[in-house]
């Protein structure tokens, strides 16, 4: 039996015998190995009989690993022991809860209340991991995945992680929606909640009370989607098809929203157009127009979302416009079509699927957006904020939050499914590997003017937004008193020299440190899991590949608010009880941001000829070596992209995080929202501005550290590989 298998088996037995099985706040060393920090073996012989059966598969694995020869029969036994042990661990964990049996029928069979146990800890985690790895190694020996243990283990681990942190929470939401708050099945109350007037009511059409939140959400999403797509298209046409001199400006506009926390734009809008905003004050003083609350509600959220999401549409559409082969337009030109006719009959139809794609993406983003509606919503309620108030508001109702989450999940999934199914196969992108010598046509004049007329004011507006954030953070009060001051920064980031040394007394420091700490942990994990998943999906063939692909994408389509609610429902109770710490935040970030790593990795892999892996394989390198020495160096741009994305998203996320923060681990974004809530706009924008600058610096640093790939070599090889056989 090989050495790795032995070490894994040994680690499993060691964790069972020595490490604390349950998670407990403080390590209870006095009573060790019994008590709260007791090991599984010690607890098992001192009353926790349900841990005893685990010894059997662990010992059996150790025995096979140490004594057995590495043949197929022993491989059968190894996978049997590994997977049955893991299955028992799960059954036991879910059956026995904090207050006895978790299911009523267990109580009626074995007698209530039954045994009880807290959430699983480090010992359980290691035992579960080793059992999974041993089972996978057994399968690999039997020839799964060409006998490659690394691949089988990677599939097993990623599959289990996705099941635990993507599927399980969603299932919990479903279960919670169909039960009342006492835990009894209640289909009638589900029906009542989901068809409620407050969700689907159409009162506003008759001029009466407000429409249901679902309609509000859909209306907002469609408006935002349309406006963002039109703006994005105008920008894309300017960037690709005109000789506009400030294209760098457009690029900058696409980076800014990525590093801007989602609600900051809403905040800036308040500073401009709110009751005491800069513009409102100017209009009142200059023209006598009284300030009003028009920015709070649909109009405000709409403007904020278009500002935030038009760049996304731009990024999609730039690719689309660039992807239209100039040769097609030249062909039309040689057939004597006029410029506008060509745009109408060739260019536009080719762009249509891309436009629909951009529209659907912005639609989904708008429905999932939480920060802007929270800051600007006023009386206009959307699903994401309604869910939030159902959890944290005065009338806490988890069942209602679950039902609303289901509605929102259904809406985003529908948009997502439409995007994947309808557009996935309908792309007219005409980029081929062959050199395309054609020149794309300049835009027809009328169209060019329209693009400029749309885009340029919007660019100015965007820069005004960012200007007011930075200016606002250095003055006393925007709209009223423009005396320069550093007071806001002093409150947030004061550092004092005391008798005990330097003291970070600013109010923002704890949340900033926690945020950076968590983002720094989450980013490399996200990139690693994302790229490994991409490698498995793109390069390996195995049962369940489609399911893995679906799960990886599913976590992308679930709105953050829904993730937040589902994580509370799923991970507030044993066996996986991790709420209130840093761990759940890290996990939440990893699985929410992993799809981007997967996509980036798949895109990078599709450009790396498969024969490179195969060449490495035939030279005697196993998958692990191939990944380390061939794939990772070649995928460096994807690695950088995922690292940056994961880091930035972890720094700027609000929606899911707001449910999961704790006193000890408050995040920067939730802290800022708290300041906005309390009316302390100065501190809020000072902190926001500092965050934006900090993230810009980190992005530049990551790019400098991880570095550029030596591109020249790659393109040459790609050309060789693409040459016709």
């Amino acid at each position: 039996m090989n050495r790795v298998t032995r070490l894994i088996a040994l680690a499993g037995v060691g964790a069972y015998v020595l490490l604390p099985w349950y998670s407990s706040g403080e390590p209870a060393l006095a009573s060790y190995p019994f008590g709260a920090s007791g090991s599984a073996l010690a607890l098992a012989v001192s009353g926790a009989w349900w841990l005893l059966p685990l010894a059997l598969p662990l010992y059996a694995c150790l025995h096979i690993a140490w004594r057995g020869t590495w043949n197929e029969r022993n491989a059968d036994w190894l996978s049997l022991c590994g997977f049955s042990g893991l299955a028992y661990l799960l059954v036991e964990g879910f059956a026995i809860g904090l207050h006895g049996w978790n299911a009523e029928w267990l109580g009626s069979v074995f007698g209530a209340p039954g045994p009880s146990q807290p959430g699983m800890g480090i010992g359980a985690l290691i035992v579960a991991t080793t059992l999974l790895l041993l089972g996978c190694r057994g399968l690999a020996r039997k020839g799964w995945c060409r006998g490659d243990a690394f691949i089988v283990c990677a599939i097993g681990v990623i599959g289990v992680l996705l099941a635990a942190f993507v599927f399980f929470p969603v299932v919990k939401i479903l279960a919670s929606a169909f039960t009342d708050n006492e835990g009894h099945a209640a289909f009638a109350s589900f029906l009542a909640k989901i068809t409620d007037r407050s969700v689907w009511g159409l009162g506003c059409l008759g001029g009466g009370i407000a429409c249901g939140v679902a309609w509000n959400t859909i209306l907002l999403a469609i408006l935002t989607g349309l406006a963002s797509t039109v703006l994005g298209l105008a920008f894309a046409l300017i960037a690709v098809r005109t000789s506009f001199r400030f294209k760098a400006l457009l690029r900058a506009m696409t980076v800014l929203p990525i590093i801007t926390p989602p609600f900051v734009i809403g905040l800036a809008l308040i500073l401009m157009f709110g009751r005491s905003g800069a513009v409102s004050a100017f209009l009142f003083r200059g023209f006598g127009i009284p300030p009003s609350r028009w920015i709070y509600g649909l109009s405000g959220i709409f403007i904020a979302q278009v500002l935030a999401f038009a760049p996304i549409a731009f990024l999609v559409l730039v690719g689309v416009v660039q992807g239209i082969s100039p040769t097609l337009e030249e062909a039309a030109q040689t057939l004597r079509a006029k410029r506008f006719t060509i745009f109408r009959t060739v260019t536009w139809p080719l762009m249509r699927p891309g436009l629909a794609n951009a529209f659907l993406l912005c639609l989904i983003e708008s429905m999932a957006d939480f920060g802007n509606p929270l800051v600007l919503g006023g009386n206009f309620e959307v699903l994401s904020t309604k869910i939030f108030f159902a959890v944290v508001g005065a009338a806490t109702d988890q069942g209602r939050a679950a039902v609303l989450s289901l509605v929102l999940l259904f809406l985003t999934l529908a948009g997502f499914a439409a995007q994947q199914l309808w557009l996935g196969k309908k792309s007219y992108t005409t980029v081929t590997g062959k050199g395309d010598a054609g020149l794309s046509l300049p835009l027809p004049n009328s169209l060019r003017c329209a693009c400029y007329a749309l885009a340029l004011p919007w660019v100015l507006f965007t820069f005004a937004i960012y200007a007011i954030i930075f200016v606002g953070s250095f003055v006393k009060a925007v709209g009223r008193d423009y005396t320069p001051t550093l007071a806001s920064y002093a409150i947030a980031f004061r550092v004092e020299h005391t008798n005990f040394g330097w003291f970070f007394s600013g109010s923002a420091w704890p949340s900033l440190v926690a945020t950076v700490e968590i983002a720094l942990i989450a980013a490399p994990l996200t990139a690693a899991i994302g790229l490994l998943t991409a490698y498995l999906l793109a390069r390996q063939d195995f049962y369940g590949r489609k399911a893995l692909d679906f799960a990886a994408m599913l976590s992308f389509a679930i709105p953050g608010t829904v993730v937040g609610v589902s994580y509370i429902l799923a991970f507030n109770v044993p066996p996986i009880e991790i709420t209130g710490g840093a761990l759940i935040l890290v996990i939440c970030f990893v699985f929410r941001n992993m799809p981007v790593g997967v996509r980036a990795g798949m895109a990078a892999l599709s450009q790396i000829d498969k024969s490179l892996d195969e060449a490495s394989l035939t030279l005697g390198a196993r998958s692990f070596t191939t990944v380390a020495r061939i794939m990772i160096p070649l995928m460096r741009p994807a690695l950088v992209a995922s690292l940056i994305y994961a880091f930035v998203r972890a720094m700027t996320a609000v929606s899911a995080v707001i449910f999961l923060v704790s006193a000890q681990y408050n995040m920067a974004t939730t802290y800022i929202i708290g300041r906005v809530d309390a009316g302390e706009y100065g501190v809020a924008i000072a902190y926001s501005a500092a965050l934006i600058v900090f993230m810009l610096a980190v992005i530049l640093l990551i790019e400098a550290l991880v570095g550029e790939r030596r591109l020249g070599r790659r393109t040459a090889i790609a050309n060789i590989a693409a040459a016709p056989a």
Binding site: D148, S611, L612, S616, R713, A716
Partner: protein, 357 residues
């Protein structure tokens, strides 16, 4: 440890992808030190067969043995086989010598030892002095040699070539294929070689395995395949033979009478029973003359004539039997015009009977 070249043996190997069968019940043996070519049109399963030897694909059924040892379940990393890829698959982020040293280095050889082995093979393929270049800084032919050096560095028992010449221009092809053959003979390597070019196959191979529709159509030496194709497919694929439907008469010793049009000929029957069959005629074995009164020859009309430099290519329409022949003639000084009426005749020694099915 010095290991010699090994044999490769396939026993009833099947490879399926879902409902598609890429390799269907294939059996063959390659002797140690032999160069065997897999030849066939695209999609015939020849590359899949090569990848099955390498372990890049796993057989759905059947057994594969290398050097007498069963390797059916072993992954590519565990088989003592190297491959030269069609795209060369040189690692773009490594220099030439790093590429070649990759094999020994992942096998655990020290850095200096790996480099020494790599330099050894680079000098074998004549690339000393270029070792620190990036692959993209080399010409196509040089890249190909790096790929060969990288495949040779572990001194594998079997070396595989997947259409190694397809990315080279026509002039280079002839030289590189000669080099490959020379290397194989001097090192005594067992080589499996995939190509769709019959001329290339004829030039380099000890034996050729012709594949068609996922199975083996014929195995034989180049001369056997060319002179004695076992089926219409092989006759057509090897040298564009014209296939003329004929009626085979009664056997007479090793010979039989056949009737082409009104003309009777005596050819070796090669075990083909009396009845309908085909006779294969190579384009250069058709003699073309201006029409004369000599009886017994077939009458035709030149429907197309093309001058291709060292010979003429004609398409000739026959009246009886009604078919079109493709023929070549060495006479480029006084070619026949399109529309000329001609008489054609075949040398009986150049006619090969193939069965009708």
């Amino acid at each position: 440890m010095k290991k010699g070249p090994a044999s490769v043996e396939f026993k009833n190997v099947v490879k399926r992808y879902g409902a598609v069968t890429a390799v269907n019940d294939v059996s063959f043996a390659i002797a140690p030190g032999e160069l065997v070519t897999f030849l066939g049109p695209s999609g015939c399963g020849k590359t899949t067969t090569l990848r099955l030897i390498a372990g890049l694909e796993m057989a759905s059924e059947g057994r594969i043995a290398i050097g007498g040892k069963d390797v059916t379940g072993l992954s590519a990393a565990d088989r003592d086989v190297s491959m030269v890829f069609q795209s060369y698959a040189l690692f773009p982020h490594m220099s030439v010598v790093e590429n070649v040293a990759y094999g020994p280095s992942v096998q655990g050889a020290g850095k200096a030892r790996a480099r020494e082995m790599a330099m050894d093979k680079l000098s074998l393929v004549g690339l000393e002095g270029l070792e620190n270049r990036a692959p993209s800084e080399l010409s196509g032919g040089q890249q190909q040699r790096v790929a060969v050096a990288r495949a040779l560095v572990l001194e594998p028992q079997v070396l595989l070539f997947d259409e190694p010449l397809s990315n080279l221009d026509a002039k280079l092809r002839r030289r590189v294929r000669e080099e490959i053959r020379e290397l194989q003979l001097s090192l005594g390597l067992t080589v499996a070689y995939v190509t769709h070019d019959q001329e290339e196959a004829l030039a380099v191979s000890d034996r050729i395995i012709v594949m068609s529709n996922a199975s083996i159509a014929q195995i034989g030496s180049p001369r056997e395949l060319y002179d004695a194709p076992s089926s219409r497919f092989v006759a057509d694929f090897m040298g564009d033979a014209n296939l003329i439907p004929v009626e085979v008469g009664a056997h007479d010793g090793a010979f039989a009478k056949i009737l082409i049009g009104r003309r009777e000929m005596r050819v070796a029957h090669r075990g083909i029973p009396p009845g309908s069959a085909y006779v294969a005629v190579r384009p250069h074995q058709i003699a073309i003359e201006a029409r004369s009164a000599t009886g017994g020859s077939l009458e035709g009309l030149i429907s197309k004539a093309a001058y291709v430099g060292d010979h003429m290519e004609y398409r000739i329409t026959l009246a009886v039997p009604k078919l079109e022949l493709f023929a070549t003639a060495p006479d480029v000084v006084s070619p026949l015009e399109k529309g000329s009426e001609v008489a054609i005749s075949f040398d009986p020694a150049g006619l090969v009977l193939v069965s009708g099915d």
